[in-house]
């Protein structure tokens, strides 16, 4: 890959792609002071290390990146090096400006992307819960960068479609690798434990099966089957177990109103909560609470 540095608005090559803020491949031979100080990223950034060894800080955590590694920096996250410059080596990166990004599952890429809306939500959620922005041994990201460069400089027919497809592909590759790296794809009980923790931490969120599946790195059907095999319940029924269990604790140990408890544990109304609760336990939440307070 040869060196280049494209940036909006100076680089005409990027004008057909307003969502690409920067695209670059740089071979660093001499240290340039203050070329890579810690700063907040406005964009979604992907880096790929072709050669060298870099010590960076991403989102407050120090990382050492080696050749073949990739790094992800989310909008609003801080990145850079404590030394303030890039060590000798070769790196590629791309900075993309999504129309919208927020940590609770909002990601709108724009009409250039063919990733559907619900999958974008899953991607946003997944990127946000991820605490390891460095992906080791992701050579495939290197070849995507290579192709991106070829397309954007060659400008052969259909290149604008290809460029956007390649960015989609980069995003999907990174997200898939993230789930695999976090789970090693081996220990379902272990990854399920992590998912369960995420469900508990956001119990009032209206979870979708698609969203849960992507956190485990599986398609929805395969995910549902795995969960059913492992827990005996469909993902949503399993979630109801957690919700009711939490609600029972709140009914017994607090004076919160049934409506507050219902909404706090993710039921969409106190009616919905009461019906589900009674179907399972034979008691309405109010009867249940009264029963447990007066009983000795």
């Amino acid at each position: 890959m040869s060196q280049f540095f494209l940036q909006q608005p100076a680089s005409g090559e990027l004008h057909p792609f307003p969502h690409i803020i920067e695209l670059a491949c740089q071979k660093i031979q001499h240290i340039q002071l203050n070329s890579f100080v810690r700063r907040q990223s406005a964009e979604l950034r992907f880096f790929y290390i072709t050669e060298g060894k870099f010590e960076w800080v991403i989102n407050g955590q120090p990382f050492t990146l080696y050749a073949g590694d990739s790094a992800v920096v989310l909008p609003q996250q801080e990145f850079g090096s404590d030394k303030g410059f890039l060590d000798p080596g070769t790196i590629s990166w791309i900075a993309i400006q999504p129309l919208q990004f927020s940590k609770n599952g909002q990601l709108v890429l724009g009409s250039w992307s063919s990733i559907p809306e619900n999958e974008c939500k899953s991607i946003a959620r997944l990127l946000s819960v991820n605490h390891l922005p460095v992906l080791s041994k992701l050579g495939i990201a290197g070849s995507i960068f290579n192709n991106l460069q070829k397309e954007i400089r060659g400008q052969e027919i259909g290149y604008s479609v290809r460029v956007n497809q390649l960015i989609d592909e980069l995003l999907i590759t990174v997200v898939r690798h993230l789930t695999r790296q976090n789970n090693l794809q081996r220990d379902f009980p272990q990854i399920f434990m992590k998912l369960e923790q995420a469900l508990r931490n956001n119990l009032d969120h209206q979870w979708l099966v698609d969203e849960m599946a992507v956190m485990v790195g599986l398609g929805t059907t395969a995910f549902t089957e795995k969960v059913k095999n492992y827990t005996g319940f469909s993902p949503l029924h399993y979630l109801i177990n957690i919700r009711i269990a939490e609600a029972i604790k709140l009914l017994k140990n607090t004076n919160k109103s049934v409506t507050d408890i219902a909404l706090g544990t993710g039921f969409y109304s106190s009616q919905h909560f009461s019906t589900t609760f009674k179907k399972l336990t034979g008691y309405t939440p109010r009867q249940f609470r009264a029963n447990n307070i007066k009983k000795t």
Partner: protein, 504 residues
């Protein structure tokens, strides 16, 4: 037609089975719940989630497999994992999570108690080894380290007691589960004064002990929501380990059973407690005057799974079963004894027979000819040598001539054959797909008069597919076992040193 339902509240899941009165299986359903490790050595469960899961599975099971098929539930019988502790207040409301058997927070309390002569007195009376797993130690820990919870606690109960209390309104504990608390005098069938004094509580802070045949009735609300008649008998039942032993048909002298799930155990049964001078064996009550004795290992199937995760080939996401199959096939290409490669499986420390939390794993005897497949074979053999070592010492107290095996790992033919070869005894595989459920069925049938006694019930367990020991391989294993056994003792000091460095 009448049927019997058994409910096993296990370590990670509840399993519900149904049987016709003659013992024919009708169906099965399970539901799992999580274990929380807020600290590495902590192991807790949410009693409400366990309860809701039990209720949900039972309800679905009744709806799908029982009520719609014109079966009438005559009895529901419970079994459960041992050693859990759940503090509840005077209204029966849980004060936080339940502490499960795997929780090691009481390590120091256990170590300290073991040094006192009181340890032997308590062991002789309660039959439970002094270990952080036992509620005796856990309650002592709560008293020392969680004073606020201790003072708010009206009763220390087990998860099983909680579930049954929710369903029936009665807070009682069966002799069997009580006998695994380290607080129950298994000879006199009441809470033991010395143990209570050590734990720092009175007997009224524990549930009332009742026989395993004790029966109760569902609260009206649950009769309605589950669609069960008021007279449905709820039999309190026993612990999972005792049920599995009964379900394996082990009753009286001459028989032993080996269970290999994540952990493992070797068990025998009889009308006397095994008084091991080193306190290595547990003695739990199956019923009044009848003891299930044996030794548990931490390092069962979980170790082979560890190996598979590290070195196995994964062709599909989360395909560990597949990977384990492939590894076992490769292990078959290596002769007995793994050409001299030995494995000490103590990755999780060890309970019986070493009772040393600091024990660690090792491969020993490596030479330049060993290949990857030797490691597979050695890993498998190491896990089974450990079970053999428990069985060997157990036999010093009570001889047995036949073995039955159960549990998900024991059912692999290679594992069964190696067990037969190591012990030099014929091995049968338990016919029923779940020996705990079978045990609970036999207990219910006995209660309902189908059998005159548990002994008669145990005799009906049919065993199939015997594996016969190969003499030559037996000799090979015995030679290597002698090295294995010496190593596991010789390395005691080094285990301490390395554990200290690992700081686990």
């Amino acid at each position: 037609m009448d049927c019997i339902i058994t409910i096993d509240i296990g370590t990670s899941a509840v399993r519900v089975f149904a049987f016709e009165m003659n013992g024919k299986a009708i169906g099965f359903m399970k539901g799992s719940y999580p274990t929380f490790h807020t600290e590495p050595i902590y192991s807790e469960q949410d009693p409400e989630q366990v309860f809701i899961t039990v209720l949900y599975v039972l309800k679905n099971f009744l709806t799908e497999k029982i009520n719609t098929k014109k079966y009438k539930v005559a009895a529901i019988c419970f079994s459960a994992a041992m050693h859990s502790v759940l503090p509840v207040n005077k209204n029966g409301v849980p004060l936080g999570n339940a502490i499960t058997w795997a929780d090691n927070r009481g390590k120091k309390e256990a170590d300290d108690l073991k040094k006192l002569p009181l340890a032997k007195t308590i062991y002789d009376a309660t039959g439970t080894p002094i270990h952080p797993m036992s509620p005796l130690i856990k309650i002592a820990w709560i008293k020392r380290h969680d004073k606020e919870r201790f003072s708010k606690t009206d009763k220390f109960i087990a998860i099983k007691n909680y579930i049954i209390q929710q369903l029936t309104g009665e807070c009682v504990i069966d002799y069997s589960l009580a006998s695994a608390t380290g607080l129950f005098n298994i000879h006199k069938l009441h809470w033991d004064n010395n143990a209570l004094a050590y734990a720092g509580i009175n007997a009224d802070r524990l549930p009332a002990p009742v026989p395993v045949f004790y029966s109760l009735h569902l609260r009206r609300e649950y009769q309605v929501s589950l669609g069960l008649p008021a007279k449905t008998k709820i039999i309190i039942g026993a612990s999972d380990g005792c049920m599995a032993t009964l379900g394996a048909g082990v009753w009286g002298e001459g028989k032993a059973t080996i269970t290999i799930e994540q952990s493992g155990a070797v068990r025998v049964a009889g009308n006397k407690m095994i008084r091991d001078s080193k306190q290595r064996f547990f003695n739990y009550l199956l019923t009044d005057g009848y003891y299930v004795s044996g030794g548990p290992t931490n390092n069962g199937g979980v170790i082979f799974e560890w190996f598979a995760k590290q070195f196995g080939v994964f062709n599909e996401a989360y395909g560990i079963d597949d990977s384990i199959h492939t590894l076992i096939k490769e292990a078959m290409q290596v002769p007995a004894g793994a050409d001299g490669l030995l494995f000490l499986p103590y990755l999780l420390g060890e309970r019986a027979p070493l009772w040393n939390a600091n024990a660690r794993g090792a491969y020993f005897g490596l030479n330049i000819k060993h290949e990857q497949k030797h490691f597979i074979r050695a890993t498998l053999e190491g896990i089974l040598y450990e079970l053999y070592s428990i069985g060997k010492i157990l036999e010093e107290h009570r001889a047995f001539s036949t073995l039955s095996i159960n549990g998900s790992f024991a059912s692999y033919p290679l594992w069964a054959q190696i067990i037969a070869d190591m012990f030099g005894k014929p091995v049968s595989v338990n016919n029923s797909y779940d020996s705990i459920g079978t045990g609970a069925l036999l207990l219910s049938q006995t209660e309902m008069g189908v059998y005159r006694s548990l002994e008669d019930a145990a005799k009906t367990v049919s065993l199939q597919a015997a594996y016969h020991p190969n003499k030559k391989d037996h000799q090979v294993y015995m030679k290597y076992f002698s090295v294995f056994e010496k190593l596991s003792h010789k390395l005691k000091d080094e285990f301490e040193e390395i554990a200290l460095l690992q700081n686990l």
